[in-house]
Amino acid sequence: MYAIEIEDLRKVFPGRRKQAVVAVDGLSLRVARGQVFGLLGPNGAGKTTTVEICEGLQRQTSGVVRVLGDEWTRRAMPRIRNRIGVSLQETRFIETQTVRETVGLFRSFFQQGRTVEASIDAVSLGEKADARVDKLSGGQQQRLAVACALVGDPELLFLDEPTTGLDPQSRRSLWDVVRAFRAGGGTVLLTTHYMDEAELLCDRVGIVDRGKLIAEGAPRELVRSLGGEHLVEVAGHGLSVHGQALTAGLTGVLRARVDGDRLSIHVAAPHLVVPALLARLTERGVELTELATRHTSLEDVFVALTGRHLRDDEGEAA
C-alpha cells in the first residue's frame, strides 16, 4: 500500500517570451506507508514543484498523482486535506497571534486531530506557547510550521526543506519530531539539500535533477551502488601527467577519476589501497600535497551521476 504514487508527472510553466520551463519532466515515484522518503536535488531541480503537486497546491500538466489512494479531484479534495499535514517552504503566519492561537486556528480547520497542547509539545515549543509569532526565532517559526502540520493528526506529512537555515540544534530537534511521527506509523515526504540529513533521517531517497528522478533507493544502497563505501582523495604536483596509470592494476580499486592534479578513487578497503598507492606515487616522483579518505556519501552519488555538485554555491565540478 502506497501513501503516494506518482506516474510520469510533468509540469510545464508557460514562462516569458514563449520559453516554456519544464519543471518536472516525466517523474515517477512511489512512497510506501510508514516510510520517511527524502527528495534530494539542487535548487531548481523540481523538488518543490513535485511536492506542491502532491499537496494539491499546483496542478500537473500531465501524469497521475495519487495521495493516500485518491487523485486530486474536487470531490476527493476535502478527504485528502483532512488526512495530510503540510509545512511549506517559508511560511509566515499571522504575526500578531501567539503560538497557541496559531495552532488553535489550524486545529479548527480539521475534523479530527491532536490537542493544541500536544502539537506544541511535540515540537518542544511549550515554553513559547504564549509568545507572539513575530517574536519567534527562525528555528522556532519552523517548529511552529511543523506543529501546524501535525495538529490535524495526519497520516502523511509533507515537509519542504524543513531545516534550511536552521542551527544544528534546531535541525536535530526537528529530526526527532520526524522520527517520532514515523514511529507512530506516519509517512513523511520531505525535501532537502542536506546530504547528512537525508542519510540519517530517510528510509529511502530519490535524487532529482532537472525534473527527472535519476536515482532512487535506500541511502546505503545508493552509496554502495558506486562500488565502494570509501573514497580516497589525493592531490600532488605532476599527478596529472600520469593519469589513470597511477591506479592501473592496483588491487581493491573500484573506480578512479583524475581531475587535474587531483585523483579520487572508490575503494572497498582503504587500508589495502593507500600504502600501495603511496608507494607508486613516490616511485614516479609525484610530490604529495594532500591525502584524505572518507566514507562515500549521497553527495558522491550525485556527483557520479551528474558530474555536478548538489549545492549551487559549491560550484560546478569539472
Binding site: L57, S108, F110
Partner: protein, 347 residues
Amino acid sequence: MRGSVVIAVARATMRDFWRTPESVFWSYAFPLGMALVLGFAFRGQPRAPVPVAVVPAASAEIDEVVLGALRQDERLQVATMDEVAAERALALGRATVVVRLLAAGPRLELDPTRPDAELAELVVRRCLQEGAGRRDPIAIDVDEVERPGARYIDFLVPGLIGLNLLGMGMFGVGFNLVYMRVRKTLRRLAVTPMGRADFFAGFMLTRLLLALPASVVVVVFGRLVFGVPVHGSWLALVALIVVGAVAFSGIGLLLGSRAKTIEGASGLMNIVQMPMWLIGGVFFSNQRFPGFVQTMVDAVPMSLLTDGLRGVMLEGKGVIDVWVPIVALFALGGVCLAAAVRIFRWN
C-alpha cells in the same frame, strides 16, 4: 460552510485588528480627530467687521461727531487715513468703503461688486444718519440663533462615517488579503481543509463587527461634542452602516482577491476610492451637477451611503425612506463577494 471554522477565522482576524495599533488608530481615533478639527475649523463664526477708511475733514469738530457715530457699530472697523492711503486701501481691498468728510457732507466711495459692499454701505449710512440725529420710527428686536442640523459639522459627520467604512473595507479587507498573499500565509491556509467560503465569511464577519461600533462612536461623539442630531430612526442608521460595511468590504475583497503585490493593490484601490472621495459627498456637497451627471454622481456607492445617512440623521427619515440605498449597497456587496469567490487566488 462550517460555523466553527468561520468563528475561528473571525476570532483570529479580530485579535489581529486589536493587536495592530495602526488599524485601531485609523478606524477609531482618526475619524474622531477629523471631526474635532474640522468641526471647530468650520464652526459658525461671527462675521468679521467691515473695514471702513475715513478721510478726515479740516474741522476736528465734524470729525469727532462722525467718527464717534461710526465707531459705535461693532460691524464696522474704522480707521482714519489721508487721501492717498485711503485710495490704496480701497484698491487693495483693505477698506470696503471710503468715507470722505467734505464740507458739503460725507461722500462714500465703494465698489458695488464686492460682496460686503452693500452691507457696509447700509451700515455706514445708518450710522451717519443716526449720528446726525435721525431716530427710527419703530423698534425692531432681533434674536440671534444657531440651529443644529444646518452647520458644516452636521454635514460632515455622515461623510466621515462613510469615509471610515470605505477605509476599513479597503485596508482592513483588501490590503490584509494581499498582505497575507505576499507573505504566503494564504498558500499555507490553502492546503488545509478550510474552504474559501469559510475564510471569506470569517473575514467579513470581523469587519462587520468592527464597522458598527466604529461608526456609532463617530455618531455619539458628534452628538456629545457638537450636538449633531439623529432626527430619524436609529434602526435605519444601523441598517445603512451595516450595508455600507458590506458594500465596501465586498469591494475590498474583490480588489484584494487576485493582486500579487501591495503596489498593484494600491493602484486598484486608488482608482476605486478617488471618485468616492471627490463626488461621494464626504466633505462637500455633491448635489449641484447638471442633469445626467447628477444621476451618475448619485449612483456612486459613497453618495448612496452619505445621502442616506444625512437623510436619516438630519431630515428624520426612517427605514422605508432609505430602502433604495439599503438594497443597492447590500446588492453591491453581494455581487462583489460572489465575484471575489470566483476569481480569488490563494497564490
